[in-house]
């Protein structure tokens, strides 16, 4: 096996055989070593959150990955393969250029009675961003998210001074015994948090110009909310949807009460993009 052992013979057969064997071992070791080294580099460069989000995004089925431009009808059937990061999308700027200005007057009440004020920008993971006059922003759960989690407790809230990144977990809540993580829509430094349960908000200082290209605003929001209701329908199935819609048209404030217990985990996971 080794050249120094007395039986070893340097002939074509031995050279071919051991050449192949040691090459295979080297290839396996190289992959493992390289993988380990790169993983350590990723950890040091703080890319863990981005990779975790991309991993979760890959688990989403195509119906959950509709491009924002599909929602508005600009690109029917288009599916996002960029983890909803429109800043890094090659096609997004061209879509934006083609669009007229975003409609400014957005009704505050969206489909199924959802409260969607126009002064907010929305993240696909159901967090909103409200720019404040002093240059900071407020981040919280949007109305659909609040109704989904219902009576929830905040398990993990960001500490003041902590750095948040886009698509990194900002909050962890516990609803109906299941954990839900809410992704941060913005990058910045946490100033403080307030509120309890689903009404919790986080005040963030962006420390520079706020990049909101990946967030939904204007008439996109209504179309997106409609789509989210349809997603909820798909997850619940027609027989559960009835009880979820009071008056036949408005979503209940606490959906957890009507979602069957064995489905809660899956519904929360998919709606919060936490798979």
């Amino acid at each position: 096996m080794f050249p120094w052992s007395p039986e070893f013979v340097w002939d074509a057969g031995h050279l071919a055989f051991f050449g192949a064997f040691y090459s295979v071992l080297a290839a396996i070791a190289a992959v493992l070593g390289l993988g380990l080294r790169r993983a350590v580099a990723d950890a040091r460069a703080g890319r863990a959150h981005r990779i975790a989000w991309h991993a979760a995004f890959e688990e989403l089925p195509a119906r959950d990955r509709a491009c924002r431009h599909q929602l508005t009808g600009e690109a029917p059937g288009r599916v996002c393969d960029n983890a909803f990061d429109c800043r890094r999308c090659a096609a997004h700027p061209s879509f934006e250029a083609l669009r007229a200005t975003h409609a400014s007057a957005v009704p505050a009440t969206g489909p199924a009675g959802l409260h969607l004020p126009g002064d907010r920008l929305y993240h696909r993971g159901h967090a909103f961003v409200r720019p404040e006059p002093d240059g900071t922003v407020t981040v919280g759960l949007d109305d659909l998210a609040r109704r989904l989690v219902g009576e929830a407790e905040v398990v993990e809230r960001p500490r003041p001074g902590m750095c948040l990144e886009e698509d990194a977990p900002a909050l962890r809540l516990r609803a109906q015994g299941r954990e839900v993580r809410v992704l941060s829509p913005v990058r910045g430094v946490v100033i403080g948090t307030s509120g309890e349960g689903a009404a919790v908000t986080v005040r963030v200082d962006p420390e520079g110009p706020l990049d909101t290209r990946h967030l939904l605003d204007g008439d996109e929001v209504g179309a997106w909310a409609m789509r989210e209701i349809e997603r909820l329908q798909a997850l619940l199935g027609p027989r559960e949807l009835g009880p979820a819609l009071a008056d036949g048209g408005e979503l209940l404030p606490d959906l957890g009460a009507v979602i069957p217990r064995e489905r809660v985990d899956g519904v929360l996971g998919e709606m919060f993009l936490d798979l």
Binding site: A20, I28, V31, L34, D42, A43, A55, A112, L275
Partner: protein, 424 residues
């Protein structure tokens, strides 16, 4: 229905049976595994006299089944090759399952081999004093390396478990390993090519056994190439068949129909090529090779139960027939033809390995030899069934706690939904 006890460990949103029902499913298989372990223990503790192997039937059930599971486990390397190197994206839907199956097949085969050899503690001798001209040396090296590769292909699937992927170190390592998976796929394909071939070469070089001996291309007898081809043909069929079984047992669609389509098509085309080359090889062997060694080919089929029907069964009934069904687009679309054809293809490979192992040893070599029979002992049978049980248990655990079938989630919703528009 209350929440499942292990809900936090199973993939989010994918329905899984209640834990109690799952444990009940595992119980008989675990019991079988226990019996198998006991049978193996007896062989290790008391010696191989616990088997019905003897000096004439030195290879028996274990070697035959080892060769069969390794041939079927070729689905792992072949699916990986088709996906990562030839970019057949549809196979993303089954690659995880194929890798788990491959790992089960190879680890099971190695476990059986450790009981089969007389001195398992000397297993490292083959590495220390290798005879590079022996086919079995090549098999040993390749199998060991390939089992390591399979373990590292299985690892990322395990690391994607819901709880484990929460640990950043494991998540990051999995991410980087996955990006380098093509290297493992290539190494795996290289190793598989050689050990599938060498397993064929095991028999083809036996100049003392004209039934098994074949003409050679350089140092490799024709069985080397035929075994690679039959394994590559049976692999996708095995993946298809096992996916279908998993689908039936879990009562849901796990892959889109076009995935079955692709697997069936690839298997069918390779099977056609295999049947062609095998027929040519058989004709050469019967008309040229064997007469040269002084044997009239009729002697090979002169003993019951190994009549010429065996040849017909292997090449036509379990070779040409499934090949024709799998290559026909019309029949492939119908699962009532596709699935049985896949099973037949797997059975054909199993029959081929049986013939090469058992019939070779049963046939007389010396003019005054009798025709020999052999039936495995309960220890041999149960230890092998123990391996099957191990496979079922490991696969069941993988199916429950890991995301073996990425398309399961999207197929689930499309089954349940009748899209009710919200508009009042």
């Amino acid at each position: 229905m209350s929440e499942r006890l292990d809900e936090g460990l199973t993939p989010r949103g994918l329905p899984r049976a209640p834990l109690r029902r799952f444990v009940l499913w595992l119980v008989p298989w675990t019991a079988l595994l226990g019996v198998g372990l006991y049978a193996g223990y007896r062989c290790l503790a008391y010696g191989l006299n616990e088997t019905n192997l003897d000096n004439r039937f030195a290879f028996g059930l274990w070697i035959y089944l080892d060769l069969t599971v390794i041939a079927l486990g070729a689905g792992a390397f072949f699916t990986g090759l088709l996906l990562y190197v030839l970019r057949k994206r549809e196979l993303k839907a089954v690659i995880n399952s194929a890798v788990v199956l491959g790992f089960i097949c190879y680890s099971g085969a190695v476990a059986i081999l450790m009981i089969d050899v007389g001195q398992p503690l000397r297993a490292w001798f083959t590495f220390w004093h290798p005879n590079v001209h022996s086919m079995l040396t090549e098999v040993t090296f390749c199998l060991t390396c390939y089992l390591v590769v399979l373990a590292f292909e299985y690892l990322p699937i395990v690391l994607r478990n819901r709880k484990l992927s929460r640990l950043p170190s494991l998540l990051l390592f999995e991410h980087q390993l996955h990006k380098l998976m093509v290297v493992f796929a290539l190494v795996g394909a290289f190793l598989s090519f050689f050990h599938q071939g060498s397993l064929g070469g095991l028999y083809g070089v036996l100049q003392g056994r004209p039934f098994a001996f074949r003409e050679a291309l350089a140092v490799w007898p024709s069985t080397f190439f035929l075994f690679i081809l039959s394994a590559a043909a049976a692999g996708p069929s095995f993946v298809l068949a096992t996916t279908w079984i998993a689908s039936k047992l879990s009562s849901r669609a796990l892959v889109r129909p076009e995935v079955y389509e692709l697997l069936g098509r690839v298997s069918g085309r390779l099977l056609v090529l295999y049947v062609l080359l095998k027929s040519v090889d058989t004709l050469v062997w019967l008309n040229h090779t064997s007469p040269q060694l002084g044997i009239h080919p009729a002697r090979f089929y002169a003993f019951d139960p190994f009549g010429t029907w065996v040849l017909f069964a292997e090449i036509v009934a379990l070779g040409l027939l499934p090949a024709l069904v799998l290559t026909s687009a019309r029949w492939r679309r119908d699962p009532r033809f596709l699935v049985p054809a896949a099973f037949l293809a797997c059975a054909g490979v199993a029959l081929n390995r049986f013939i090469m192992t058992v019939q070779t040893l049963a046939l007389p070599t010396l003019p005054f030899d009798p025709f020999l029979t052999y039936l495995p002992s309960w220890q041999e049978t149960m230890s092998f069934l123990g391996v099957v049980a191990y496979g079922v248990v490991l696969y069941s655990l993988s199916f429950r706690y890991l995301n073996l079938f990425p398309q399961e989630r999207e197929l689930l919703a499309s089954e349940e939904v009748t899209h009710v528009p919200l508009v009042a």
